[in-house]
Amino acid sequence: MWKFFSLDEIKKSLLMALWFIFLTFPIMVIRVNPIYNVVEWRWQNMALVGAGAFFLSFLWRYFLEYKNPAPSKPADDAAVSRSGRFSELLRSSGTRRLAIGAAVILALAFPYLFSSYQVNIMTTALIYVVLGLGLNIVVGLAGLLDLGYVAFYAVGAYSYALLNLHFGLSFWICLPIGAALAALFGILLGFPVLRLRGDYLAIVTLGFGEIIRLVLENWNDFSKGPSGIAGIPRPGIPGIEMSLNASSVFLYFLMIALALFTIMVVSRLRNSRIGRAWIALREDEIACQAMGVDKTKTKLTAFALGATWAGMGGVMFAAKTTFINPASFTFLESAIILSIVVLGGMGSIIGVIASAFILILLPEYLRAFSEYRMLIFGAVLVIMMVFRPQGLISNVRQTYRFKGLQENKEGD
């Protein structure tokens, strides 16, 4: 640590500061108003940038060094050995049970401890947990880079809104219908893109997401266009009248139930025949096929299942906001959900849950400096990727114990 204050290091930081002063000069210091031909000089910003860059460059180099202790050692192994301790903690069933128990109690008591605003944003965060876990199937497990996941979210939301508007169908009927329609769209998208790999897949899915949004925006007769659909009912229980507060609490518990259901399904799938096939497909498509896995079927199930959760999330979203319009389903939304998956650690359930809470609640609690919220969001994405590219929780696989083996091990 102390070597970071040597003359050499200070010189490096000074250079960095100078570089950033140069870099940010036109944008940070000068502000022009071409309408009135006025130029404003903000010299104080220059000092801020200089000081900030000077100190941050220390931190940057320190943490980068910390990440790669010795240049000879590949970064990958170092990361694994350190994350190992945490993973170990997660694996020991005692701690696990305790943690899960605490989480369940907190989740149940939450609406009675906090205000309805807190309940509301927690519901939003839970929707993203479900979305993150759903996309995790496609990206994290099956390794298919999907930049248009928001399309299925939109399908779910509009299914509920439109079916309710035209046919008066209730939330409870629309939830499975929304999920099924989204799954259908997942398969529809899946077919043409089966042959595409990597980045080609990425741009086509992105295009698909945009197409869905544009159709919703332009086809007024169908979707009411950009002005959206208002007055979508919140879910209720037949026969029980609920106040606003009660219905938001009810929605919260519904979301908890859906999230738990998602967690259960995803964690079971992950260690099943299908789940292993997804992971194998991600790891090596050719070897996977050669081992008897049907690529087409496996990819389509991943797309369809991933889309199903987005569809359910969409129905929930429509029920929560009671108003939807196409502006809620932009590429940025897909990017945020993808960030949740990658930040959490590809394929890790707990990681995805944690990162959904961080990424969705962080901006809410940053309301105080709301102007800087997206700036911070962008920076967090970069910093997380630089210092922890494998995500919060790296790949944890199921372990098996064999009786004969343990005895052997003791003999070692």
């Binding site: 025949r273 299908i274 081992m291 199930t301 696989r397 199921q398 372990t399």
Partner: protein, 262 residues
């Protein structure tokens, strides 16, 4: 002895380049057959044609499961070929690095099991039983290739020789009647090669699986093969027992000549 694999006049073109030129080859039940030839002779391409990774330009590939009818397999997808009962390993190891050793083998069971999504979610007794069987079967295979101590390790952390053995176990998990090994001894030290020699023979004898292998290690080839096919520039130039091949002047010129240079 009846054949398990018959290849007639197989041809594979890449653009204007003919990588495999009217090759005839057959593997009989219970045989260990080696396919040798200098680098670039088209051996791996031939493997890829057999296992469905490439679609051959011409010719026939017939797979004949023991006690079953012959099936023409050109143009089938790789997974369909595997389902019929042909399994392979790769020249440059292609394991699933971020899965555990056991899971790698479990993937091989995919085409022999059939639990669906619903089963996986409900975890009903049938699925649980199937899952138990998969684990037991896979563990048993790992014992066979002496990797049982590594079951829960990530495949990427295995030493090189162990990765080769794991690939064989994974292929065996698909219950093939013909195993195709692409340079199984590449990169192994003499001790590991001897172990491999033993392993291949045991697989053939104990599990009654026919084996077709590509190999450069002449000692291994001569030791274990019943017959040897030799390829050069996409063409088949000789067939025979190890003894016959050893004495074939054309092979010595083509193959061993290159060895001498190297």
């Amino acid at each position: 002895m009846s054949a398990v694999l018959t290849i007639n006049g197989l041809t594979m073109d890449f653009g204007g380049l003919r990588a495999v030129d009217k090759v005839h080859l057959d593997v009989r039940q219970g045989e260990i057959v080696a396919l040798i030839g200098p680098n670039g002779a088209g051996k791996t391409t031939l493997f890829n044609c057999i296992t469905g990774l490439y679609k051959p330009t011409g010719g026939d590939i017939l797979a004949i499961p023991p006690g079953g009818a012959a099936k023409r397999i050109n143009g089938l997808k790789p997974n369909q070929v595997t389902e019929i009962g042909l399994a392979r390993t790769f020249q440059n190891i292609r394991l699933f690095p971020n899965m555990t050793v056991l899971e790698n083998v479990m993937i091989g069971r995919h085409c022999r099991t059939n639990s669906k999504i619903l089963g996986a979610v409900l975890r009903n007794s049938r699925t649980r039983r199937e899952e138990e069987e998969i684990v037991a079967f896979s563990y048993h295979l790992l014992e066979r290739v002496r990797l049982e101590r590594h079951v829960n390790d990530f495949a990427r952390n295995l030493p090189y020789g162990a990765q080769r053995r794991l690939e064989i176990a994974r292929a065996l998990a698909t219950e093939p009647f013909l195993l195709l090994l692409d340079e199984p001894a590449a990169g192994m030290n003499p001790h590991e090669t001897r172990e491999l020699d033993d392993l291949i023979t045991r697989i053939q004898e104990e599990m009654d699986i026919s084996i077709l292998l590509i190999e450069h290690d002449m000692k291994l080839v001569m030791n274990i093969s019943d017959r040897i096919f030799v390829m050069e520039y996409g063409k088949e130039i000789a067939v025979g027992t190890p003894l016959e091949i050893r004495g074939n002047p054309r092979v010595i010129e083509a193959y061993l000549g290159e060895e001498a240079h190297a």
